[in-house]
Amino acid sequence: MSDENKSSSVPSAGEPVATRSAAPMWIIVTTLVLLFIGGIYFDRHSGWFNPKVYAPYTSAENLEGFQPQSGAAAALARGKKTYEAVCGICHGPDGLGKPGQAPPLAGSEWVVAKGFNRLAHIPLMGLAGNIKVAGKDWSMNMAAMGAALPDDDLAAVLTYIRSAWGNQASAVEGDDIKKIRSGMGGGSQPMTHDMLMAMPE
């Protein structure tokens, strides 16, 4: 050690020199413990920087648990979601349809009819051939887009299209769809205008 000092190239011997020493162990340990406690606290209370999570909710799951799940409004929200995923591609999120692709549902007499028996048969069985919608003639094909949906979801979709975009018609319950489904018989032929008109509204 002393040899090293002698061979130092610093000429002025009297100048004070900054030395180093290791930080005391207890500071390091305390810091790590504090960081650990902070981490646990953060974990439990922060919601992981999710911009949707505010106190008093502690996490995204906690907040999800407080979302209203029952009632007519919830069915509408569910119907909207399902509609946009399944039917919206053709009929449009605004229900206006697209020329050459699908007729409108907004203002369609098939959708806002008093009863929903005919309406429910369209997504359950599909629709083919000539049909008049809001004064315009269509002659295309729609597959049975709703046949695979659970009763409750299809009911929610129909409730939604019957009350969105200015449409005003009664709600549809899951049990109604169940009844219609069980009364449908086996055939897989798509509906036509005449078949629809032959059944009760």
């Binding site: 911009p51 505010y54 008093p56 907040l63 979302q67 209203p68």
Partner: protein, 293 residues
């Protein structure tokens, strides 16, 4: 200066981390905030303010209203509430008898007294709140049990906290509420009440104008300063102005004079009336009172 570089690096890291924490992280978190949808509806929230109300925000800012008023409702918790809406074909007395069979269930045992007390002397009037201040599991269990015997109920979510108890809002304030506020007037001191929901609490523009002109004229003992300079006292013309304030005698102008709001006062009131905190959002869920049928 052998340590110059280390000091620079240390200072850079210190300032850099706080910049990341105070500027970058909030930007990443909320910088892309957009209009959201009111829970269980297809309506947007918040709506862009009208022109007058947008200018009113600047008046609010200029006269330092935020020094005494906050615009942030706080919430300390959420509770579930189960309300009876239809007894099906049961008689009220049978139903009360039936609720006794619920008390042995582990989840509901703690609510025995509360339910019994709420049904004490009940004559069958509906809707009837059965359970308050409970949690989700208990509320769901209760609703399921009721459904099983053909009794209909609604489950509501109620935001709780001192601010909400004072009627200052229906739920906590969240970032989305301030989307169109530039700058946001959160405030930090409550010499006066919180104003986040004032547009619902005091929706009368004439009340607001009279309050600004002379707070004591509508709230005796008010310590809020009066903002008289936002009004003009002038001679009554050929016919009295329809905008003239209608004040109690001791605050009113002298005979032959009338007090009319200047544009800034009208803008400020338009802004105040646009302040609402009464719609449920995904991040601040609750059941609005009107939805409980």
């Amino acid at each position: 200066m052998k340590t110059g570089l280390s000091i620079f690096i240390a200072a850079f890291i210190a300032l850099g981390t706080s910049w990341c924490g105070f500027v970058l992280a909030p930007l990443l978190q909320l910088g892309s905030a957009q209009q959201t949808v009111i829970l269980q509806t297809t309506d947007n929230w918040p709506l862009q303010r009208t022109g007058a109300a947008t200018l009113g925000l600047q008046v609010y800012r200029a006269y330092g209203c935020a020094a005494c008023h906050t615009e942030q409702v706080r919430q300390t918790g959420s509770a579930f509430e189960v309300t009876l809406t239809s007894l099906g074909n049961q008689k009220p007395a049978d139903f009360i008898e039936f609720t006794k069979s619920l008390f042995v269930l582990p989840g509901l045992a703690n609510y025995t007294n509360a339910i019994a007390a709420s049904l004490n002397g009940w004559n069958g009037g509906l809707p009837k709140t059965l359970l308050t201040a409970t949690d989700k599991d208990v509320a769901t269990e209760m609703a399921d049990r009721l459904k099983a015997v053909g009794v209909k109920s609604e489950t509501a979510i109620i935001a709780t906290g001192p601010d909400i108890a004072r009627g200052w809002g229906s739920r906590l304030s969240v970032a989305a509420d301030f989307l169109y506020d530039q700058p946001v007037q959160l405030g930090s001191l409550r010499a006066g009440p919180d104003l986040a929901n004032i547009g619902v609490r005091a929706p009368d523009a004439n009340w607001q104008l009279a309050h600004l002109y002379a707070p004591k004229s509508v709230t005796p003992n008010s310590t809020m300063p009066s903002f008289k300079f936002l009004f003009e006292v002038r001679k009554v013309g050929a016919s009295p102005s329809p905008e003239a304030l209608n004040l109690p005698k001791e605050f009113a102008a002298a005979d032959g004079f009338e007090i009319v709001p200047k544009p800034a006062a009208k803008q400020l009131v338009a802004y105040l009336l646009s302040l609402k905190a009464n719609v449920p959002l995904y991040e601040a869920p609750f059941t609005p009172a009107t939805a409980a049928k």
